[in-house]
């Protein structure tokens, strides 16, 4: 009798799910898209750099800061990143656990998709022209690298009004995004207190996503990866050009650092827009990937004391993550007609950093620390609140699958040393629950 009931369940589940299997969605695999400033110094100071922007990374952080530089500089950064994204992997969301096959766990179980990398994400050259009052910079910056792999075994759920459970088909997901910027930046001094800067960046974009649904062995059994039920891919390779505009102002002459000083910086960085192709079952469409815009305002206060120097920075950064919703997020939800039920909010980051310099010590050690609050910028699901069991269960599935995002507090620290008049070395690390970043940069100062 029990065997018959199980067979009935399996048939019902397959019938109810077959339409979904053909139309894939990857929206339930959360994507976190971070836009972190380059440079170990910036990283160690919590990324509060718009007001400071006093090194070779200024071409990205705030091009107006380039004007400060008095010597030709070459900067190279290496960065290791360990990031984990949770995704709904297995378990039973509702209904009674059968304790058979893979249906043995009550409640959702989240897996971790690890995305680790060790790269050289930033290289720049700055050539100042003090006589003419301007500076030029060229840089290559890996704005973001995403390399996700997920495999969900398929969760179980049951509507109270139904006698049988349902099961989501197992899904394998691969998502790779590479976004690299090649920038040419210039800064011009309007007067000894104010400088403006602009960067024109050529971005290259590569997107490769592949999501597949597989059959299961029986209804409660493990995934059967030899039988593919559906597939959705996103493939894009594009380039775009965008500007970044910055301004920096000092309360007194910017080069007067003998007494307490304050500097302010504002930067607007326009996100690029790229096109890519989506193939979901038989459906083909061309979509857009829109990188968020960033507007940041920051302040840097420097207090010199005999033999030591304290620098405090702060920044508020607004990032329009919502630009990713149209069309990238919607594109992954449209096959389920859920495009109106996904949302991605813009985020406001608050950053603060501090640097303590011991001027009298060898190598001029600079101890840095920072803290910043990273808003939740994962995709959220707005339930349909429908009465139909199938829609209600979909609500349940996506609400839980997309429930993992939250505001995170990052803590950072680092050290800077001037090894010689021509070599500067910085290390920095940033720690949060989901991400650890370690960075080291070398700055070579050429000429006098």
């Amino acid at each position: 009798m029990q065997r018959i009931r199980l067979a009935a369940c399996w048939v019902l589940a397959v019938v109810l799910s077959c339409a979904d299997a053909a139309a894939q969605t990857s929206v339930q695999i959360p994507l976190q898209f971070d836009l972190i400033n380059p440079g170990a110094k910036s990283l160690a100071m919590g990324g509060a750099f718009a007001g400071l922007a006093d090194d070779a990374t200024a071409g990205f952080a705030n091009p107006a800061g380039l004007r400060e530089l008095g010597r030709t500089e070459v900067s190279v950064e290496t960065r290791g990143r360990w990031h984990s994204s949770p995704f709904l992997q297995r378990g039973r969301l509702s209904g009674r656990v059968q304790n058979e096959g893979t249906d043995t766990i009550a409640g959702p179980v989240f897996g971790e998709s690890d995305d680790n990398s060790f790269r050289v994400p930033f290289v720049s050259v700055v050539v100042p022209q003090p006589q003419r009052g301007w500076a030029l910079a060229g840089f290559r910056h890996e704005l973001t690298r995403v390399n996700q792999f997920t495999f969900a075994e398929g969760v179980f759920f049951q509507d109270p009004r139904e006698i049988t459970s349902r099961r989501e088909f197992p899904q394998e997901g691969i998502r790779k995004i590479a976004l690299t910027s090649y920038g040419a930046a210039g800064a011009f001094e309007l007067n000894p207190r104010i400088a403006v800067g602009a960067t024109v960046s050529l971005h290259t974009f590569r997107l490769l996503s592949d999501f597949r649904r597989f059959d299961v062995v029986g209804f409660l059994g493990p995934p059967n990866r030899s039988v593919q039920l559906g597939r959705s891919t996103q493939d894009g390779k594009d380039t775009a050009v965008t500007p970044t505009l910055g301004i920096r102002a000092c309360l007194k002459r910017c080069d007067d650092r003998q007494t307490a000083s304050a500097r302010f910086g504002f930067v607007y960085r326009q996100g690029a827009t790229f096109t890519y192709d989506t193939q979901s079952g038989p459906a083909f469409r061309v979509s857009r990937f829109r990188v968020p815009n960033v507007f940041a305002g920051g302040v840097a206060l420097e207090v010199p004391r005999p033999g030591r120097r304290l620098l405090i920075t702060g920044e508020i950064k607004r990032t329009t993550y919502s630009r990713l919703k149209d069309d990238f997020i919607v594109d992954q939800a449209v096959d389920f007609q859920l495009e109106n039920n996904v949302r991605l909010n813009d985020g406001t980051e608050v950053r603060a950093g501090v640097q303590y310099t011991i001027e009298t010590a060898a190598w001029l050690p600079r101890f840095r620390a920072g803290i910043w609050s990273d808003p939740d910028h994962t995709v959220k699901y707005v339930p349909l609140s429908a009465d139909h069991p199938e829609l209600r269960l979909r609500d349940e599935l996506l609400s839980i699958a997309l429930s993992t995002g939250r505001r995170e507090t990052h803590y950072s620290a680092g050290l800077g040393l001037t090894l010689s008049p021509t070599v500067e070395w910085n290390v920095g690390a940033d720690f949060a629950d989901s991400t650890t970043i370690v960075s080291a940069s070398v700055i070579l100062k050429l000429g006098r």
Binding site: F188, C254, D256
Partner: protein
């Protein structure tokens, strides 16, 4: 294309919005606005031996920059040793403004920014003594020209303490003693060679070599008193007749007493670094019938010196070079002359 245009439009708009403050910006474009840029430009000018430019930049850096120190922050976490007074001293030393150089070096000592462990120390120590030497020697020449032979001794004594060029001092001292005796003794008296015992016996003769790292910064020696001059055994020194030529031996270039006042004063003005004052005097001397070719050489040198110190233009320089080369004046230049005339000046004159 649309994206590029959009980006260009935004940048252009941004620039346009900043234009109200551009006139102020463009008016100051000839010189760096930041003190550390001016200082670095000055250092580059020193390397190129462009003294006029270096002086301008260092003065600007000094005026707008912080107090000199070994570690002064420029931008970001960068720092430099900021020594504008030292480099101004170097500039003055190379433009024959020994008194200014000496003052600048004294200021550097007061600031205590160059100590024995610093890389500039050896050069600074040498340059400090050189400035004192040049100033004292020039003073001696001026006193000689003024006929104050007693005062010359004190100046030469001070020059000797620097241990820069003792041979030159002694040679000049002999000349001075000779002239002093000539002034004191009857015209036909037979005299012995001038004694330089006072200077030669001076303890500073045994001063450490100029490059000794541990040597203390040079200090001005006590000025010889008149009583020390009186002690000179004048009676035993024969008085030679004044020479009719410029004395070149030992590298001392002093016009003979028989030379015209214009030439004497012109030469002294030239070696004092007063190129502007030297030119009319030397011009007058060079135009006299049977003029010494040295007058023409020094006239050309004074013109070049004036250009190099920012008092003349490129046309004057080219014209002077052409005159110097067409008259083949270099054939009258002796190795001794080359010791005392700035190499930079000679280099300009002999450039083809």
């Amino acid at each position: 294309v649309q994206a590029v245009l959009r980006a260009a439009l935004m940048v252009a708009l941004f620039c346009a919005l900043s234009t109200p403050v551009w006139p102020q910006a463009s008016s100051s474009r000839q010189t760096p606005t930041r003190w550390y840029d001016a200082y670095q430009e000055g250092l580059r000018a020193v390397q190129k031996r462009d003294w006029a430019a270096a002086e301008k930049q260092f003065l600007q850096a000094k005026a707008t920059g912080p107090q000199p120190a070994r570690r002064v922050f420029t931008y970001g976490d960068s720092y430099i040793p900021f020594l504008p007074d030292y480099y101004l001293g170097v500039v003055y030393l190379n433009t024959n403004r020994s008194r200014d150089a000496e003052t600048a070096f004294q200021l550097v000592r007061k600031q205590n920014v160059i100590t024995a462990k610093d890389p500039e120390y050896v050069a600074f120590e040498r340059q400090g003594r050189e400035a004192t030497f040049n100033r004292a020697f020039t003073q001696a020449q001026q006193l000689t020209a003024a006929g104050n032979f007693e005062g010359v001794r004190a100046a030469l004594q001070e020059a000797l303490t620097t241990n820069i060029d003792n041979a030159k001092v002694q040679m000049f001292s002999r000349e001075n003693e000779t002239q002093l005796l000539a002034k004191a003794a009857p015209p036909n008296a037979t005299t012995a060679p001038p004694s330089t015992a006072k200077l030669e016996d001076s303890p500073v003769q045994n001063a450490p070599p100029p490059v000794a790292k541990t040597a203390p910064p040079p200090v001005a020696a006590p000025v010889a008193t008149n009583s020390s001059v009186v002690k000179t055994p004048v009676g035993r020194i024969p008085v030679p007749r004044p020479q009719n030529e410029t004395v070149k031996d030992g590298g001392v270039i002093v016009p003979p007493r028989t030379a015209s006042a214009a030439l004497r004063n012109g030469v002294l003005a030239f070696f004092s670094g007063d190129y502007g004052g030297a030119i009319p005097l030397l011009q007058g001397a060079a135009q006299q019938p049977g003029a010494d070719p040295k007058a023409q050489i020094l006239l050309a040198c004074a013109k070049v010196g004036l250009v190099l110190t920012g008092g003349g233009d490129a046309t004057t320089l080219r014209q002077t070079q052409a005159e110097f080369q067409s008259a083949a004046l270099d054939r009258y230049l002796t190795p001794a002359d080359r010791r005392f005339i700035s190499p930079k000046i000679l280099q300009q004159l002999e450039r083809r």
